[in-house]
Structure formats: C-alpha cells, structure tokens
Symmetry: D2
Subunit: 264 residues, 4 copies
C-alpha cells in the first residue's frame, strides 16, 4: 500500500511516458495529461491504474534503474547493461566497503549503496565541487545518503590504505589514479575501470599488470532490445553501438610474470 | 585473514586453472601441481601468493560467480552476462520475496538468496526431485540454505497468492506456467522469463499481454571478451553467440489496450 | 581523366557532405557552398581537390554504393552490409541470369546488373507501376538499363521456367511467392529471401524445406563503424541494430528428409 | 549439364559433409560413404541427387566460397563476411586493376580475379616463395591464373606507379607498406587494410591520414548464423567473435586538414 514518503513511477498507458515522484503531503505532479494530487495515491496499491484527466496511468514501484534515470545529470551516466555487469563482476555484497572515483552524477554511488546494505559503506571522491553537491542531492533523494562518505578531491591524494573490497574508477584520465586505487584495495579486492576508448584500455592494462593486478579482463557488453509485437518479431532498428569498455582485475601479491604468453 | 570455514579460490599463476575449496580442518586439495594442506591457509591473507609444489598460485576470495561455477550442474546454467542483467532489471533488493521455477542446479536460487539478504526470502519450485536434492546441496554449500524454501512440484500447482516482489521463470515450457506466475506476483511486481528460442518469446509475449502485464521488454545480452595483450589488443576469436532471450514485464491491474500500436 | 558523361562524387573537405552528379555539357551543380560549372571538371583527374567558392571538395569516382545512395527512393533499400553478403552468397558472376521480385527502388537491380556483366541478364518483377517507372529511371541513370528486363506484375504469375542462376526475393509477403521463385531457379540455383521479421524467417524456412530446398542458412549481418581518431579510438555511439534476416538456400531434386535432426 | 572440366561440390544428404572435385576423365572421388566414378556425373544436371553407396548426395555447382574453402591453406584466410564487404567497399568491377599484398593462400587473389573479369587484372605480391607457389596452384585450380601477375617480393620494392583502381593490403606489418601502396593507387582509388589488432588500426589511420587519404573508415563485420529449425528458432550457440578490423580509404590530392574535428 502506497504511503507518504514512497517514491512512485507514474507510467502512462502508452507505456512510454514516465514520471518519477515522491508522495508528499499536498504535493501536485503536473503533467501534460492532467495534474495529479499526490495525496490521492496514499492507500492505493502499486500496480493500480489511475486516471490523470486526459490519460490513464499505472502506479509502479520504481526500480533502482527508474530511480537513477530520474536524477538530474551532470555527467554521462553508466548504462544499465554495464551497471549490471559491473555489480556482479565486482561482486558487491552486503557489508562491503566500496570506493569510487569520481562521483559524477551519483548514479553508481547510489547503486553501490543499495547493494552494500546497511552494514556496508561507499566512499566517493569527486574533484568538482559542483558535481559533488548535485550528487549528494541525488543520493539523498534515492535514500542512501547515510551509507556514503563524499570526499571533495582527487583519489590520488587519498591517504586511507587497504580498506576497499572493491574499487570503481570512472574518471576522464584513469591512468593517473590507478596506483592509488590499487593501494586502497584489500588483498583479493576487485577493481573496475571505465574506459570509453581503446587507448585507455591499452594503457590501463599495462599499468594494472605492472602493479601486480591479476585476472585482468576486458569486456564489452551489447544489449539488443526487441520490438514486442509477436506477429512481427524483430530487434529495434537502432541500438547503442558503444558506451564503454570495462576493465576488471584482482589485487594480489608477489606476481612474478607480467605478460600472458600468446602465440605470435 | 583466512579462517576455517572460508571458501577460497586457488588461482594458478597461469591465471587459467582454478580450484574452489572450503578451508576445512585436515582438508587436502589435490591438484596436478601438488597437494595443498588446507590448514596451511589459515592465517594467510586473501591475495597472497603460495606455492603448490610445481606451481605458484593466488588465494582469492571467491565471488558469487566463482561460487556458482564451482557447483555440480544438473542443468544448463544462466550465464553471468544474463544473470547480471536479470538481477538489476528484476530490481532484486534486501527484503524481497523472490519466486523461482524451476530450481535446476540452484544457481539463480543462490544468486537471488544473496541479493535478498537476511531479511528476504526465495521460494524455489522444481518438479524433478533429483535436481532438487542436488540444488539443495549446492545452495547449502554457498551458505544460503536458510533463506530458501524448496518446493517439489510444478509452479502451476502453487496455491500461495500475491506475495512475490519478483518472479523468475526458467522452465522448458514457460507458457504453461505464466498465468500462475503472474498470480503470485504482487501488484507492480516484476517477472523475467528465460526463453532460449524465439518461438517461446513470441508465445510468452502474447500470454503476458493477455494477462495484463505491462512494460514488456525483450533483451538479448552479448558479452565480448578481449585478449589482454595491450600491444596486440583485439577481441577473442570465438564468442558466445546465443544463450537466451530475456523477457521482462510488470504486473498491473486493469489494462485496457492489449497491443502496442505499430506502424505497418 | 574526367569526361563528359562521367558520374562524379563531389565530397566536401569536411568528408561528410556529398553530391553525386553527371558531368553534362552546360550543367551546373548548385550547393550551399557555391555553384559548380560541370564543364570545368572535364580534363581534371579523379582525386583532385577543387574549390566550390566557400569550401574545397574532392572529385571522387563514385562507387556502386555511392551510386545507389544517390537514387530517389520509393522503398526501404538494402543496406551495404547486407548487399555485400547477398552478392557473395548468391555467387552472382558474369553471365548469370538473376531474377528479382520486387524491383522496389531498383537498387539491387542495379547491383546485380553490374555484377552479371554484359553477358548476363536481370529480370525484375514489380507489381506497383509507380515503383517500376521510378526504378527504370534509376537503373538507366546508373547505366545498366540494357541488362534488365522489367516486368510489371507479380512473380507468382511468371511463366518462365528453370532459367535463373539466382533468385532474390524482397517482397512484403515472401511466403506467397516462394514456390514460383523456386520453380524459376535452375537446378543448384541459389535463392535469397529478405525477411525483416523472425515470423517471416520461420515461415520461409518451412516452405523452402517443403519445396526440397537444401543448405538453408539464416544470417544476420551486423556492421560496427568506428570513430577514426587514433588517439581516442572507439566504436560509434549508435549503430544499426537491425535491418533484415537473410535466408539462403539451394535448389536440389529428390530431397528425402525434410527436417534436420536436432537434439531436444 | 555437367561436363568434363567442371568443378562439382558433392554435398551429402546430411547437408554438412562436402567434397569439392573436378570432373576428370577416369577420376575417382574416394569418400567414407563410397567411391564416386567422376565419369558417371557427365550428363547429369546440377541439383540432382545421386547415391554414393552408403549415402545419398547432391551435385552442387560450387560457388566462389565453396571454391576457396576447398583450397589448401598456407595462411589464415579472409572470412566470407569480410570478403563480401571488402569487394563491395573497394568497388571492384570488370576491367579494374587490383593490387594485392601479400598473396598468402591466394584466396582474395582468386576472388578479385573473378570480379575484375576478363578485361581486368590482379597483381599480387608475396615475399615467401613457398606461399607463392602454393597460391599459384590454387588460383590455377579455380581457373583465374591468366588474370593474375604474381610477384615474388615486398610491395615496398614495387616500382610501378599510379595504376591501381584498388589496393588490398593484408600483411603482418601493414604500416611499412602503406606509403608504397598509396603511391600505386590511381587518384580516387580505394585501399583496404586488414588489421587484426586495434594497434594496427590506430597506426594505419595515422599513416593514411598523413599520406592524404580521405574518407577513412573502420568497420568490424559480425555475422550471426541461426539454427534452421522453425519450431525452435534461435542463433547458433557459438559465433566468430573476431576476425579482423577493416580499414578503408580513398586517395586524393592536396588534403589540407589532417584530423577530423571531434567534440571532446
């Protein structure tokens, strides 16, 4: 049952137009299809169909994805296809300590925060104070502000040591921050580096290997969406061709051999 | 620090060969490269390099993926690329009640169990009792047995109503189980149907739509893995071409229009 | 050396804007960047750089692709990625007799015409007379009109028998035309059916198999284009997600077994 | 009607096993399923079904692809998906002069030779004399030997100037041969460089741009093959993940600006 304080996704019957809103006392959601008195939602069930005036709509319990897509963005955000793969491959779980640089819009900050649960912690570095302020608002809006420590500055100046279960590096020039990032990782901790260009991947692999990182993997995730008419089933005409390469690795000690042998 | 009862992934220095093992008192891990006295690992740190006799190896804290890949399989298992996208799109979170049919090897059972946390619950249906027994062992081994209720039988005979935040349907003939699956979902609950063939997708879309499911989406996830030599950077020569289509939807009430309009 | 009657592609120095034009006596090409007196091109070499007034441009000898993309379209045209694969898989070569239905814009008509050479022949069916008239102009413009026989009407009413080395079927409802298409093929002749939807593929496979067609293959061609900055190398952000499935087969006699065995 | 001298593809009824053979007087094709007296094929029609003793088989007129796949290989050969795209994008047509380095197995030599027709010409460089001898046999076997000039040596030592309509560069280190290759091209001629690794692509783009090459394009072609059971339609489980990147460009004179502007 919907209560004050809940977030609700209002999905129009066309299944395209969406509004993300908190159910606040006296709140009004203005849409092209009529105004919605938010108080009227209290007591209704998620899944119900309501009328906005000119159109019907569904009351949907917003997912994490719905939440982050409702945020005001200051930067390019990580796509769901990549977000999902990062969460699983970094193996983020309740109780984990996750470091992140940079905070950007606060999307991954929020996603990690939910994943680490109440017993976990996210420490997020961002050198641009304007981004940081907006990100704090975003994370607060999604309800995870108490799990996050925001730090204004470069990760490279961070002094904490060996405390991260996972490190997520998403900055314009990852190579400069790799050494500090690795230092912060616990033994066997996992890193993910966002590399939009191949050149960044090549440089990142080289540095990670020189730092003793093992099990280096580079992935590219492609998600194809299909039209849902079962009589004329086929993929969408256009798709996302590229977002980023994902570079992963695990911190280990005493690595002897730095290059994988490969037949010429 | 590694303790008795921990699971450890022993990753050889070739970064290919892996052994997944529990640190048991008096345990011995037999490998082609020497026997490992498991007691000797107690007190070591994850990330350390050890010697197996003929080869060095790393002590890695196993991820969920490492865990499920170490299980004895009775069925085809969901690939990580799909697993990640399912978890995020179904929006599984701490406290959720997740239904699943069928249990199969218990891989997704385990993955969901970790994700719902201690306050959540997974109810898993499997009609083949031999699969169910093996799956129970697998889920126990990964430490999540207390969060799971196993049910021997068809989901279609299930009598519980409106209690699932999410439903994961992975059975040979999904169409026969869709109506019950939807009934079990709470309003605004999310379903994912595994459909290896297009024919199953077409049938599933039709049934979901007739049952009033909204926001139906069909996705295909492709993951490309790259060779990690930065001097000769390129994708692997072979890749997985197909695992399954993923069909998602949200339960809602009172849907009026059953077919999305599409230009001819 | 450029002569009267040649086609020229004028490619602006931005390498994006293109003009396709015939070098006609007294002709003028009007562009946003100045007017080009076509006579002034006579005697110049392909590859030369000229000035249009406000911008420089290159004189390029147009490729087949440049030619067909310069045509006025009455229908969706086949993409180069698919066109190339069709030409090779149908094994079109000098001297071949190629049947086609429908003509559409005349793009594949032109492509096949060039490929069969002076000793070959293309017979193209189109039931819409408005399409046919425009297609004739297009094929004439590209210089292949003498190799093509245009037929106004449905391929299903065609009376010629066993004369095609290859058949290219690109009509809205291919299933109705498959039997005639196969009849027209010589023994060992090859067919390609354009099927934008999976449903058409499924139906087409069934009919082809019942008609004794062997070596049935279904392909989907994906072409990824990369940004060409070597310092920031990466794929384009957006790509074509789907054009069509391509179904191929070979005509043979006396087929006994109609369905490939497949493990369940 | 099949005659002496024809090549025939014997395709077993399982539609998997293939034999490529010339119909020679007194020839015998030995197979696991019986011996085939080649004289017995004379007078039969392509497309007919014959009996090999233990199995039936079809007589198929071999395509270019069938031909090149029957060759003895000394090197990795270009895949059909790439071959098709190269032929179309290089715009090879009757009468063209095509240069190639290196010859390798002679596959592209043969493909280009068929495409340029009787009035065209292929000049193929190969520094390894053992490859060259085998390639000559291959090209002769496919019937195109008279259209090809084979040169033993490096393309970089070539002295011919400005005579190629198209250049195909497929050597282990393309960067060393790019300048000569471009010199050989006519104005507005087209080049294709085979680059299996990204590093080669990056280097190739830089050199091509410094040499004034315009319209540089980098493509990656992915071909997905589907299982052809219409009741269980889906892609093959495994696919080719990577063969090569294809770099294309056009020779032009007097290029002023060497780098495409790109927003940061």
């Amino acid at each position: 049952m919907i209560e004050y304080g809940d977030n609700v996704l209002i999905l129009l019957e066309d299944e395209e137009t969406k509004y993300f809103s908190e159910v606040k006392k006296g709140g009004i959601l203005k849409t092209h299809f009529g105004n919605l008195i938010m108080d009227s939602l209290v007591g209704k069930e998620f899944g119900e169909r309501i009328n906005l005036g000119l159109r019907d709509a569904y009351l949907i319990k917003p997912s994490m994805i719905d939440g982050v897509f409702s945020l005001k963005r200051s930067t390019q955000i990580v796509y769901p296809k990549d977000m999902a793969f990062i969460l699983l491959t970094l193996d983020i779980k309740p109780g984990d300590v996750v470091y992140e640089a940079g905070t950007g819009t606060g999307v991954m900050t929020s996603v990690f925060s939910r994943q680490v649960g109440e017993s976990g912690k996210v420490i997020s570095y961002e050198k641009r104070s304007d981004f940081l302020e907006k990100a704090k608002k975003n994370v607060r809006r999604l309800g995870f502000i108490e799990r996050v420590t925001f730090v204004a500055g470069e990760i490279a100046e961070c002094e904490i040591r060996e405390s991260a279960d996972a490190f997520f590096l998403d900055v314009p020039e990852p190579s400069a921050s790799l050494e500090t990032s690795i230092t912060i990782l616990k033994g066997s901790g996992r890193i993910c580096v966002i590399c939009p260009t191949v050149n960044q991947v090549q440089e990142t692999i080289g540095i990670l290997r020189s730092l003793g990182i093992i099990d280096i993997q580079v992935w590219e995730i492609m998600a194809r969406n299909y039209k849902t008419n079962p009589e004329r089933f086929r993929p969408e005409d256009r798709m996302v061709g590229h977002t980023t390469y994902l570079v992963f690795g695990i911190k280990a000690e005493g690595r002897k051999f730095n290059v994988k042998r490969e037949s010429p």
